[in-house]
């Protein structure tokens, strides 16, 4: 038992790190080839993509196998995050592109790269078939459960905030706060309530708050490149 603990935890640590390193580089490489620049957002997203992919596989792969898995995950996820623009679903911060795609790469990748049962190690197709079945089953379960709950909420209490509130900013309309007080008018001392005097209840509909949001809405050419938007 102690032998398993000492060897396996070390392998898991190494595999987790190597896959993540490789995925970061894989993502940056795709960006460099496609857009001409490797971005910090790409590096951060690549890190998460690698961590996601190695999660199911970290005990079954060799260190080199983990590098391969990470590279594939980083590259595929970098391509996958652009799909939301093509198909028009607003996966705002790339949960689908990173976690679903990365999770599938890792879960199914075990079927190829497992050192004891993987296809690439000459152990046949059976592990791969099992991993694909398990992944599909999990997708179906999650899809149905989420759809039921999502529809129930949609037709009872509703999901969306008002359109005006969305334009104004959800921080202020849902929480009565703003992250960055750039005007300095609010001060830091709280007397009775943070909401007192902030105008939340009496604000006329549609009127924007006085908090400035420099450049958040200004389109620039660079911005369409981020996160792999099609040119």
């Amino acid at each position: 038992m102690i032998a398993q603990f000492t060897t396996e935890t070390g392998l898991v640590w190494i595999n987790t790190t190597l896959a993540t390193c490789a995925a970061m580089l894989g993502w940056l490489l795709v960006e460099r080839l496609r857009d001409g620049k490797g971005t910090s957002l790409g590096a951060a997203s690549g890190v998460v993509a690698g961590l996601v992919a190695i999660t199911p596989a970290c005990g079954a792969l060799s260190p080199v196998g983990s590098m391969v898995l990470g590279t594939v995950a980083g590259g595929l996820c970098a391509l996958a995050v652009g799909l939301k623009y093509r198909f028009g679903y607003d996966d705002s911060l790339d949960v689908v592109g990173v976690h679903l795609v990365g999770g599938l790469v890792g879960t199914i990748g075990i079927g190829f790269l497992s050192t004891t049962t993987g296809l690439l190690y000459g152990e046949g197709l059976r592990q791969l078939v099992v991993q694909v079945m398990v992944a599909l089953y999990a997708m179906a379960w999650s899809g149905v459960a989420t759809l039921v709950i999502g529809l129930a909420i949609k037709y009872t209490i509703g999901w969306r905030i008002d359109e005006e509130d969305e334009v104004e900013g959800i921080d202020f309309t849902e929480h009565g706060e703003s992250a960055y007080d750039l005007t300095g008018a609010g001060g830091a001392r709280r007397t009775t309530s943070v909401l007192a005097g902030s105008g939340v209840p009496t604000r006329p509909p549609g009127q924007r708050s006085t908090v400035e949001e420099p450049s958040a809405e200004e389109p620039t050419e660079e911005t369409t490149e981020k996160q792999g938007a099609p040119a």
Binding site: L100, A138, W141, V211, T224
Partner: protein
């Protein structure tokens, strides 16, 4: 998972228990830091300056809601039918068709063996981050109250059953009558090909990813999506968050070790 409590009994008798339980407590803390503040910063930096607090609040509120729900019925729904985690190893709680275990057997951690508290802690943090991950797909446009209603429902219907099926001896594990056993047969009561999910590729990431996709389709796009740029407002926060996620992930992965044998020394 381990078939019986034998390995743990042996563990308790050995000196290694100190190191192992210490590592499990540290791992639980590491996974906690992934959600708050790791994921909150990662997502917060990517959102626009007018919605960063709401984004971070979705992660923090996932910790608040799911943490409590996990202790009330999450642990019980996941593990109460497994002999080593059952209140009475001879008479474990009921399990429904290998899909989920009884939510009532160890409700509120009643009858949970004190030696298992550290595993409750570790698994609790997994449920929290899985739910929090979904928030990235529905940024900037969802009522905070609706999110708070969604959280307990989703972990109950999607996360706890899948966690039971994969790690609690259910349909996606290597048990007789499970998916793999039905496909490729069994030897000595275990599937010939054990499905491999070390730390949550299906339960955590595919689960959260599909939920994000379904909700994004159901809820619709942000105003101006595809027409105006939705620039990340502070990528330094995102980089800090990614670093914290990486750091915490060592607890997530290396803490997920399951002893397969008591024979080794």
């Amino acid at each position: 998972m381990c078939g019986s409590e034998s390995w743990r009994n042996q563990l308790l008798e050995e000196h290694y228990v100190d190191g192992y339980y210490t590592w499990m407590l540290i791992s639980s803390c590491l996974v906690l830091i992934m959600t708050t503040p790791g994921l909150a910063l990662f997502y917060g930096g990517m959102s626009r300056s007018k919605s960063v607090l709401n984004m971070m609040m979705m992660s923090f509120s996932a910790l608040g809601v799911v943490g409590i729900v996990y202790a009330l019925w999450g642990w019980s729904m996941t593990y109460s039918s497994v002999p080593w985690a059952a209140a009475d190893a001879e008479n474990p709680g009921w399990e429904a068709a290998k899909l989920f275990a009884s939510p009532f057997d160890q409700f509120g951690l009643s009858d949970t063996l004190p030696a298992n508290y550290v595993f409750v802690a570790f698994q609790l943090t997994f449920a929290v981050i899985t739910a929090a991950l979904i928030s990235g797909a529905i940024a900037d446009r969802v009522k905070f109250s609706s999110w708070l209603v969604f959280l307990p429902l989703w972990v109950t219907l999607s996360y706890f059953p899948l966690a039971h099926q994969v790690w609690g001896g259910g349909f996606l594990s290597n048990v007789e009558g499970g998916l793999s056993a039905l496909t490729f047969g069994v030897t000595d009561g275990l599937a010939n090909i054990a499905p491999i999910d070390y730390a949550g590729g299906t339960v955590v990431h595919i689960n959260a990813g599909v939920a994000g996709l379904v909700l994004a389709l159901l809820i619709g796009v942000r105003r101006g999506f595809g027409r105006e740029p939705m620039k990340p407002h502070n990528l330094t926060l995102t980089m800090i968050g990614a670093g914290l996620l990486w750091f915490g992930w060592f607890g997530f992965n290396a803490g997920s070790i399951v002893f397969t044998s008591t024979k080794e020394s």
